[in-house]
Amino acid sequence: MEQSFLDYYSLEPVTRWIHDTLCGVMPEGWAVFLEGLVLGVVILLAYAVLAVVLIYMERRVCGAFQCRIGPNRVGGKGGLLQVPADVLKILTKEIIRLKNSDHLLYELAPYLVILASVISFSCLPWHKGAGVLDMEVGILFVLAASSIGILGILLAGWSSNSKYTIIGAVRSGAMLVSYELSLGITVLTVVILSGTMSISGIVESQADGWNIFKGHIITLVAFVIYLISGNAEANRGPFDLAEAEQELTAGYHTEYSGMHFGFFYLAEYLNLFITSGIAATLFLGGWMPLHVAGLDGFNAVMDYIPGIVWFLGKTFFVVFLLMWIRWTYPRLRIDQVLNLEWKYLMPLSLLLMLIMVVLKVYGLVF
């Protein structure tokens, strides 16, 4: 295994050097504070930029799936400025305060949703040594943090004081809580395979082969289940129950306008990205390059590609898979959604976890 290039690209020495230099000129507390500040700004910037990229990608991919072109006028040939223009427009919109809503909760809800998605966003392993939030129970932390979003959605529906929003929120809540189960179980399957819960540890454990190849067919099926429940977690079609124009108008965010609505919208797309990023981490090896056993020259070439390219490439591949799913299937009814989860996905994922435990105990995995 050629590890030297992976070390060559590692950002850890750089970050340590920056930390040491800062500590040389100021107390450590200030240095940590300053680093945290800079990182926070970088994360929020990356968040916004990725949202723009994802919305553009969604519109083009959706267009292609419907045999049309998609936005291609604003900003030259490719329509690249379409989404920035939309962003500017939404920033100028008035934020309406409803008279009979619960003001505090009404205004808190979008921030909870965006908070949950920013926290889980910071856990992604961008590069070797560049995981922002990296702890021993990293993957558990991601699951916990992303669950705050459900709270935001329920609050949004409740505090708007409208029939549509409360029904939409309860639907979303029921769906998100249900799909959290099979999501968690498939994640556990991978944790069992890797033997660690830390995100960087999971990535490191895939240096000799991505999990999707390592766990025989088990991880492949788990990957599919993860994608389905991840799609549901991101509240996207075919699980976009909350947004039923006929019955519920726009679901839990019906009463929101301007940037408050924008936060929900942003969070939806970033949740898509986070779901894909975690899928890439768990099953496709995060920033690990593709290695084929025996082809040393090929492996060496793959090592030259920096980790962030691998990570973004894999993540956007999974994003494309999710969009493919979204624009293929018709949306499900609420009872069908719950049926699918409780009667089909959860038993299967439990079975997969069981088989994975047996395989791991008897050392039958690669």
Partner: protein, 166 residues
């Protein structure tokens, strides 16, 4: 068959059908897009389907002859009263009285492009063309006369089969 086998079978069947759906949609993804970038491609790649109905026309041949026998079936078929066939009785060389078309009036503004007139025509004298850029500033400009100035009836030998009924 016990319920567990049923469950597994249904699982398998629905998985297969879902994969089939994905296969179809990825085919569409790579298919040529149907969007027309209209004002830009007006003179280059504009594609209007052949059967698109945009404007009624009475084809005339090189000798300024049409196929309309002024029977008035199209006028009767038209639900909107869009067509008015003005005809007169004339005696031909053998002294037989014959109905001859004078003016074939057509109001494009009232037409709903249902093609009933073309279907009704026994001689294939009228047809719809693809010419769709018909916007004008005055309503009167939409009152059209379809037969050309001084046109005559084509001899029956040159009669064409109505392409719609064929």
């Amino acid at each position: 068959m016990n319920s567990f086998t049923k469950y597994v079978k249904r699982y398998w069947r629905s998985t297969k059908s879902l994969v089939g759906g994905l296969r179809i949609s990825i085919k569409v993804f790579f298919r040529k897009k149907v969007t027309e970038q209209y004002p830009e491609n007006r003179h280059t790649t504009l594609y209007v389907p052949e059967r698109h109905r945009a404007m009624l026309e009475m084809p005339h041949d090189a000798e300024n002859r049409h196929h309309c026998i002024a029977c008035g079936l199209c006028q009767m078929a038209c639900p909107n009263g869009t067509i008015r066939v003005v005809s007169e009785m004339r005696e031909d060389a053998e002294g037989k009285k014959k109905r001859v078309l004078v003016r074939y009036e057509y109001d494009l503004g009232a037409c709903m492009f249902c093609q009933l007139c073309v279907n009704a025509c026994p001689h294939g004298a009228i047809r719809f063309t693809n010419e769709f850029e018909n916007a004008v500033f005055e309503r009167e400009k939409l009152h059209l006369v379809l037969n050309h100035e001084g046109s005559t009836l084509a001899p029956p030998a040159a009669k064409k089969e109505n392409p719609v009924n064929a």
